[in-house]
């Protein structure tokens, strides 16, 4: 069976990681390519089952992961589990205070701590009066490279930085629509390029001032 050169895009398509232009190009393609469509259906089914029943399918995986994390934490001493847990709790608390109790403060910058304990896929809705001028997360140590991602339905913007804050460029801000949900995520890499930690995707929306 000959491979279609578009096949590699299927995962990115299903996970909404393609730009609008690429997405439309690929959609037009699979409307014309029965082979790709068959594969999409198959993968979509597989991913659906994995997302739906993953907890039980991978129960033994998670135990293994945890023990691996422990070894990893020994190597990256600054990432010992206790501070991480407290960081996660603090993060939750900060979020609740800032966005739950006093939601109407203007120009508040969402602070978001990240840690390995952050649960993937969970989301906290932050409502901000304006587009946050700055995104901030907990610093994990020296020489860590962070990658920040902003998503709408798909990846809108990404940028690497060594700092623990980032501001959005104007051209991205103008693309963002009030009332629509966006989410952001931070991943941390060691100097060797190994992924150390990945935050969950956190949702945010902003209201227009008028």
């Amino acid at each position: 069976m000959k491979k279609c050169r578009h096949e590699d895009l299927i995962d990115d398509y299903l996970f909404n990681r393609l730009s609008t232009e690429k997405k439309e190009e690929f959609e037009e393609h699979f409307f014309n390519c029965p082979r790709c469509f068959e594969q999409i259906k198959e993968k979509n089914e597989l991913i659906s089952v994995i997302k739906d029943k993953g907890d039980s399918i991978f129960k033994d995986m998670r135990i293994e992961e945890e023990s691996k994390n422990r070894t990893r934490n020994k190597i990256f001493g600054f990432l010992s589990p206790k501070p991480l847990i407290s960081a996660a709790l603090t993060a939750a608390l900060v979020l609740i205070i800032i966005f739950g109790i006093i939601p109407n403060i203007t120009n508040e910058t969402p602070e978001f701590m990240m840690s390995d304990d952050a649960i993937r896929g969970s989301s906290i809705t932050l409502i901000s009066e304006a587009i946050p001028s700055e995104f901030r997360w907990e610093d994990l140590g020296n020489n860590i490279e962070y990658k920040v991602f902003i998503y709408n339905d798909e990846l809108l913007w990404e940028k690497s930085t060594q700092n623990n804050t980032i501001s959005l460029p104007e051209e991205i801000k103008t693309k963002m629509i009030p009332g629509k949900s966006y989410s952001w995520q931070v991943k941390a890499f060691s100097p060797e390029g190994t992924l150390i930690s990945s935050s969950s995707k956190v949702q945010f929306t902003w209201r227009k001032n008028n």
């Binding site: 991913i47 659906s48 089952v49």
Partner: protein, 164 residues
């Protein structure tokens, strides 16, 4: 000029594709998806019958254009109706609605559980934890290409296990 498209064939071939695209764009939990698919298929047939579609593109591209426009239109109208409520496309393939065949899903889950750790790990990191190919490669100390190959092979295994 009369054209000689087999409308029945076109409908049966493209309806599943249109259905997939519509559900993915507006969310399969949105009850209107079926009406929208029907409209798109009817519209397609009308345009072919009336000769508006002259074959300047492939039938697939033609139907894709109609589908995309209809979805844009739906989202725009919905926005106008309720300012703040905008339908969001599914973040992932919807786990509950898109599994049409429950039994098949159960079986797939069982087979997944029985996979060798080598393949299970890759599916766990790549599809369950949503890591990118590069991240999975880094975690496992293999090349990104190897990640794709392993995912591909795991799928092939599953396909064969289910056929049996």
């Amino acid at each position: 000029m009369k054209n000689s498209y087999d409308l029945k064939k076109i409908t049966s071939k493209y309806r599943p594709i249109v259905t997939f695209k519509v559900k993915k764009s507006i969310g399969s939990h949105t009850p209107e998806w079926e009406d929208i698919v029907n409209e798109i298929m009817l519209n397609t047939i009308e345009k072919i019958k009336s000769g508006e579609f002259k074959g300047e593109s492939s039938v697939g591209t033609f139907i894709y254009t109609i589908t995309r426009r209809r979805i844009v239109d739906y989202i725009r109208r919905k926005k106008r109706r309720a300012h703040k409520y905008i339908p969001e496309s599914d973040p992932f393939p919807d786990p509950h609605e898109q599994i049409e065949n429950k039994e098949r899903a159960e079986m797939l889950a069982k087979k997944l559980e029985e996979l060798k750790p080598k393949y299970k790990t890759i599916l766990y990191l790549y599809y369950y934890k949503d890591l990118s190919r590069r991240e999975v490669a880094q975690r496992l100390g293999i090349s990104p290409r190897k990640v794709s190959e392993r995912v591909h092979y795991a799928q092939k295994l599953l396909r064969n296990l289910i056929k049996k």
